[in-house]
Symmetry: C3
Subunit: 403 residues, 3 copies
Amino acid sequence: MKVVLLAAGKGERLEPITHTRPKPFVPVLGSTLIERNLSIIRSLLGNVEVFVVISDSTDPEYERFFSRLNNVKIVRQGEKKGTGGALSYVPVTSDEIAIIYGDIYIDRDSLSRVLAYEGNAILGVEVPNPSEYGALLLDSEGYLNGIVEKSPTPPSNLVNGGIYKLSSSIFDYIDSLKLSPRGEYEFTDALTAFARNQRIKVIKNMGSWKDVGKPWDVIDINKQELDSRPEKLEGEIEENVKMIGKIIVEEGAKILSGTRIEGPAYIGKNSIVGPNSYVRPYTILGQDVKIGSFVEIKETVVMEGTKIPHLSYVGDSVISEDVNFGAGTLVANLRFDEKEVPMNIKGKRQSSGRKKLGTVIGAHVRTGINVSILPGVKIGAYARIYPGSVVDRDVNRSEFFKN
Amino acid sequence: MKVVLLAAGKGERLEPITHTRPKPFVPVLGSTLIERNLSIIRSLLGNVEVFVVISDSTDPEYERFFSRLNNVKIVRQGEKKGTGGALSYVPVTSDEIAIIYGDIYIDRDSLSRVLAYEGNAILGVEVPNPSEYGALLLDSEGYLNGIVEKSPTPPSNLVNGGIYKLSSSIFDYIDSLKLSPRGEYEFTDALTAFARNQRIKVIKNMGSWKDVGKPWDVIDINKQELDSRPEKLEGEIEENVKMIGKIIVEEGAKILSGTRIEGPAYIGKNSIVGPNSYVRPYTILGQDVKIGSFVEIKETVVMEGTKIPHLSYVGDSVISEDVNFGAGTLVANLRFDEKEVPMNIKGKRQSSGRKKLGTVIGAHVRTGINVSILPGVKIGAYARIYPGSVVDRDVNRSEFFKN
Amino acid sequence: MKVVLLAAGKGERLEPITHTRPKPFVPVLGSTLIERNLSIIRSLLGNVEVFVVISDSTDPEYERFFSRLNNVKIVRQGEKKGTGGALSYVPVTSDEIAIIYGDIYIDRDSLSRVLAYEGNAILGVEVPNPSEYGALLLDSEGYLNGIVEKSPTPPSNLVNGGIYKLSSSIFDYIDSLKLSPRGEYEFTDALTAFARNQRIKVIKNMGSWKDVGKPWDVIDINKQELDSRPEKLEGEIEENVKMIGKIIVEEGAKILSGTRIEGPAYIGKNSIVGPNSYVRPYTILGQDVKIGSFVEIKETVVMEGTKIPHLSYVGDSVISEDVNFGAGTLVANLRFDEKEVPMNIKGKRQSSGRKKLGTVIGAHVRTGINVSILPGVKIGAYARIYPGSVVDRDVNRSEFFKN
């Protein structure tokens, strides 16, 4: 078997996180979505050949991430767009192929049940909102009859989970694809045609599954992953530290005096927390993160190398890599009217479904001292926020914001 | 004996505290002025009949408070104004009557000495500023000869303490009252007439007594009450908590790690303090209050359900019920010139007599992050303060303040 | 031997520190430059006669400092300007004279080697930038041949260290001085003439030496002095205090619970640190300083009586005496572009050579709550900073700053 990981999507809905990192590299505890999936695949299938399809025009910052993947074959997607287009560039050399979308968070068991299935298989996931996905048509024996994309009247609430194990003859169907009305080559069209001739078992998802489409999904998948992990206390924990509940402290991390950590919480490799910090449930710190004195943080994903060193409050947020918070930078995560916090996604205002939502900050951002960030605001990569500012709107990539 | 509590005053001078709560319900440690007085009365006189005279036009928020009083008869004051008017609506059914003004803070002993006196009695209180009160005229034997209201040349510095125990024939005099020049029926006129025919002993106050007229008086009476109470440590106190001096922690309260409390201090029922809070002397927290991480608070009365969760400094202030402070909300309590802090009372700028005075905040107020509140500023109930604002003037009820 | 300390310089480059204190009184741990030098001199030479030359027109605030010097003779410099002018007012009564510039920080050993030398001597200091000083011309035997002031092509990198031991005949040369082109009487001209007739040994400096010319030099000399001192733990240290590295706590000081101190650090007499403070390396606190709750401070010199009581961050700064920080006053010490921080010195923008530099604040300054101070900004003595301000430029003496 060969494995194909589809990683060419631009991830605009995940901006500003994707200003500097490819969508499949959104963080999952100390790792990333794609690295976690690869690690699960390798533990299931051994040293199988893996193709990673990436966009032909990724910028240098993206390359840095892809080059972290060991022992994979990078395939660049050429002119042909869509998931079908992406797969058409993969050299077929095997009788069986596993195809995994790059933005799917899935638990290890469900992934393994698809990969281990003898015959063709697709993951089917029950969701409350099937009209936003490709809903699956099943026959009476549980095999796939077709996929109905984003229908207002979906045939079921079981949708395409983005994980397939197929005979390599699928590539014949891929090669025969024609442009869809939206100008792409749709893999699901190939799949539907394939299903007419071959049986594809629908494996029902029994655990976690998440299509990571919106910035706040990054918080959710990290919460789910954290809930699935056992406690672990490595690193160095000073005296006068209060730790409550399940906490994972990775090696090289230091928890300094006067700190209180309420789990579940994840403290990444070589991160420093404290002194006198207050880390609340579902705080997820990547590698080399600094949470310093008189900082309170909760339900927030902080990526590698970011520093929140003094006198900050951060809640319900996603902070990308190498961000530096000036002292007294505060994040508001609740509206005065206590309504669900909206956020602009590809220029369109959408409800996040969360009453508590803070900010999403791109990489390499610097905030000055005494900065206030309002609920649902996004700050683009490399932006600078002038001291004393109240960030009351989205900030563009590299913008200097002052009010 | 029957007891009448006069609770119909509008308490405009106590705004914004009285935006949502009747004046007699200003907090006294975990209780209120009127509930505390009722409890003392019941412990002295048993299950005596108690009338509470309230205004005919109280708003629904006021009603909620009055309905908390168990086992009393609510009497609504009709058209007749003034204390005499108020009493005229009380049905007379007893030979003796105790009359207690609703805004008087008095210690238990003094109150008991008036109530236990055989014969007519009035509390006389020595004050440094008798021209602001009704000064008492005494005969050589210590009986009342008359009351001189707010005279620039008061006959003594002994003034009307607002506590009486009288024969029910006082009601004949009340019924005969005529409108005073300011258009009210003055109970003290009835009293003066009554004193011409019956002897009224003046019982001199020996302990605490305070007419709660200005917002900062709420701080003072709570300080006095706290000084009179013994230490009590219920609730749950975590390790790494430093407690110094006399502290009262009520049941259900939690003091979390890293907190320092310097007494005298009162932590109300089910309140949570910490982690890493700094509570200084004469902090008075009502029920269900939250004082959170990196918050310093001193000489401040905080009413029930209010949350000051992170990175705040609050000193010399009164914060009403169900207020929420955004992270980094700071209260200034000292002028640059270190002069006495003035405050607007019924639209008139008055000195508080205090060099340190912070803010008075009405109920249900929400402040954004990084808000600064200047000394002597009042914020009306239901107001919203935009993040980053400097509140440099009084804020009206329900106002949205932004600068 | 007699000793002359030159203390008449106006120290404009050290403003605003010198708004209220003479330049030789810049702090060195709990003492000052001149008092420290005096104390070394007395320990080496016993109760020798010491003249301190001060300006004729010092203001009353300066006088307060000079009056602290015990057992010295104050000499006022008259109309004759320059170091030569200053010395011309000293009454000559001795065969040998030591002359020490008032703004030199030097280690005890180097000072003692000059004073103990049998014969005439001058301290020579190797510096990387001799063109900014008076470079020394030496003969083959190590005796002084002349001094070349601020030459673009200095003869060596050994410069005039500002410490001399000379025969009193030097005064003959001083009396013969003529006005230099810049209108002063230059002592080094007298020295050059003297050197033509008498041998002056150049004693090479082996330890610390610093001409305290710029505000940030005050940080440097305190760091050097602290490095040379042994640990000392007097005062009172509460439980739950974490102390790491070499720390000096003077008598009467109190370190309150929840505080972390990372040495090297100096806590002056009767200072109070905590509760819940975070004191980082090279914090130097004078007498009666208060560093309060939720305050982080690093590499900063704080002078006597100054209070930083709550929720502040201060780094790489010099804070003069009797300053009061409002809650939430934050000092930024790093530019967004991470370039060296410039500062205005006598009206001219100069690089400090430091990537991290905060603020320099004169005496008696008051800042309001939530004030932000930008890197490299200077605040004049007696200034007031309005709450919520972002101090983005230098503030004049006594200015009321608001933006």
